[in-house]
């Protein structure tokens, strides 16, 4: 390791424990995700949308923020991200099966639509890109509260930035444009992470936009833009740390384009053989972020093979238990469909 770590590579300061936690989160997400595919093949669940291949982006991002406190407005591929915030595989399994007490929505939303107030994890819809201008609104609120003395700038118990994720295809939406523009005009503490996996379902990048990189769009808004290798969790962490510091210090918003690979069809409803070759997919698998990060940790001696196997065993056990509990849990009571249409007057709200 470098004896004098550069300021722009904060990952060099990560402790072995922190590095192993990152690996653990990526692994846990992967094993949970894989189980969902098995359950789908078994006909036990109707739908799954996967984050396989995106784990490094998400864990690198999550570990760079004040987890559970900074606002996170995610999208449907963000399993690894939300696990890093405190959501559990059990929570996820409950959503797959649509069971009573499901964390995000009481099983009202499809799986992978996370929400947990207790972690400042904001509910999102399936309508792509809607979260971007809303996340700008969360960031606006942070700035507003500071400017008006509602919170102190150095109050670490309060959110100090808002992060949001979406796919490269979703940046074609007007919603994205308008959200980024606010972030620029008001120098908001917003970090927008575009997980560029080169496809929007079947539509490849070059039919989505006529530029080489989504990060090029940052200049249209006066925000900082950067492209990062999203298969490298430490590169992602470094990019995020810089963005987070910028946000915390009131220096404005960052657009991070994280190039990564979608290692599965778009969702369990999709068959990607019609639009991408098996060779291309095999090539993508060579960039599997978990395998490569394992190599790094093993190579650096941060993690031993025994530890790696322990992680595997532990992940399996957690996933097995989660699956079992979710499968045997009761469904919600049908009368609850009338709950939570309107918040009661005098409801206290806002965090």
């Amino acid at each position: 390791m470098n004896a004098t770590p550069a300021l722009d590579t904060p990952s060099q300061l990560l402790s072995p424990e922190a590095l192993k936690e990152m690996y653990w989160l990526m692994l846990l997400a992967r094993r949970t995700d894989e189980r969902a595919w098995v359950l789908h093949r078994q006909g036990k669940i109707a739908f799954h949308i996967s984050g396989m291949g995106h784990e490094a982006v998400q864990v690198g991002a999550a570990c760079a923020i004040h987890r559970g406190v900074d606002y996170v407005h995610p999208y449907y591929r963000d399993l690894a991200l939300v696990l890093a915030l405190g959501v559990t595989p059990r929570d996820f399994m409950f959503s797959l099966f649509g069971k009573r007490g499901e964390l995000s929505s009481g099983a009202r939303q499809m799986p992978s639509h996370w929400s947990a107030r207790k972690y400042n994890l904001v509910s999102s819809s399936s309508v792509v890109a809607t979260q971007v201008p809303q996340a700008a609104g969360l960031a606006f609120a942070i700035k507003y509260k500071r400017d008006h003395g509602l919170i102190q700038a150095d109050d670490f118990s309060q959110p100090r930035c808002a992060i949001t994720c979406l796919g490269e295809g979703s940046t074609s939406q007007g919603e994205w444009h308008e959200g980024m523009n606010w972030a620029g005009v008001h120098d908001l503490p917003l970090i927008c992470i575009v997980q560029n996996n080169n496809y929007a379902i079947s539509v490849p990048f070059e039919k989505q936009m006529n530029i080489r990189s989504v990060a090029d769009r940052a200049n249209a808004y006066g925000v900082h833009g950067i492209t990062v290798n999203g298969s490298d969790v430490l590169a992602m962490y470094d990019a995020m740390k810089a963005a987070v510091h910028r946000a915390y210090r009131g220096e404005g918003a960052t657009l991070i384009e994280a190039k990564c690979h979608r290692l599965t069809p778009h969702s369990s409803d999709d068959d990607d053989r019609t639009y991408r070759s098996r060779e291309e997919l095999e090539e993508a698998k060579r960039f599997d972020p978990i395998m490569s990060f394992a190599q790094v940790l093993l190579g650096r001696g941060v993690m031993s093979t025994a530890e790696q196997q322990e992680f595997e065993a532990k992940a399996m056990e957690i996933v097995n238990t989660a699956h079992r509990e979710a499968e045997s849990a009761p469904y919600p009571d049908e009368h609850t469909i009338y709950d939570h249409i309107y918040a009661p007057i005098n409801h206290e709200s806002g965090r």
Binding site: V127, T130, A136, G179, W182, D339, I345
Partner: protein, 328 residues
Amino acid sequence: MPEMTLIDALREGMDEELARDPRVFITGEDVGKRGGVFRATMGLFEKYGEGRLVDSPLAELSIVAIGIGAALAGLRPICEIQFADFIHPAFNQIVNEAAKFYYRSAGQWNVPMVIRAPYGGGIGGGLYHSQSVEAFFCHVPGLKVVIPSTPADAKGLLKSAVRDPNPVLIFEPKKGYRSIKGDVPTGEYTTPIGPARIAREGSDLSVYAYGMMVHYCEKAAEQVAREDGIQCEVIDLRTLLPVDKETILQSFKKTGKALIVYEDNLTLGYGSEVSAILSDEGFNYMDAPIKRLAGADVPAVPFSHPLQEAFMINPEKIAHAIRELAAY
């Protein structure tokens, strides 16, 4: 009680809420220095500064989405859409997002925000400065929709809306911004979101209306009372969603005849729902066809004066419809 115009009452309501709660802010196009194109926020910029009267970029969906995000974070945004006609770009954020947050998070995340928009015709605004858009939003559970017709209600409903933990849309009859005047209580008060208001008592037939049309209906009611001895009950619906079925039905049980007046175009306008409620739950009291008097079923209000007049409902048309119905 001082007399005030509708717009002055709205402004006073915003002023008081800004003073009361530092979490309240206003955003929208030209709401700052300019004080709003209708002057609804005039003077507030000078009083509260640009941090709380936030000129937005020219982009409605983001005005609403920033409001949603800020509301989620505990602020109390008042979002101004310059004309109701320009709310359509924000439709997705209102209908798919604001309306569904509380439900989709099973009560974890609520959206305490207000969206204000001037609506309605008769001001020479043509297709895109005259629209009535309430019907689109009254179809969406999770939203509340209010339309004040008096200055007192305008202020009281606005203050309730700011304090409501849900997204509340206030559509303001812009033709009446300055022409509608009325007494406004001094001191702190709110008007509850929910109940309709009986604007005029009567036993011969029930006239349901909101916004500018309430005034035209009252005028028509006076005329037919004077000229024909017909006693109309005029109901100012005020809160359109949730629907105040109780008040709607109560009046109908007394009169057995209903005329629903709205300036939006007829088909699937708000009056369709009022009618459907009456012919179901009020069937036993029905003495006549349930009548709707509404704007023409054309794509929008035309500009040229005679065309606009042909589109618009006025007291004469209402009086005519009342007489026909009373004679049934």
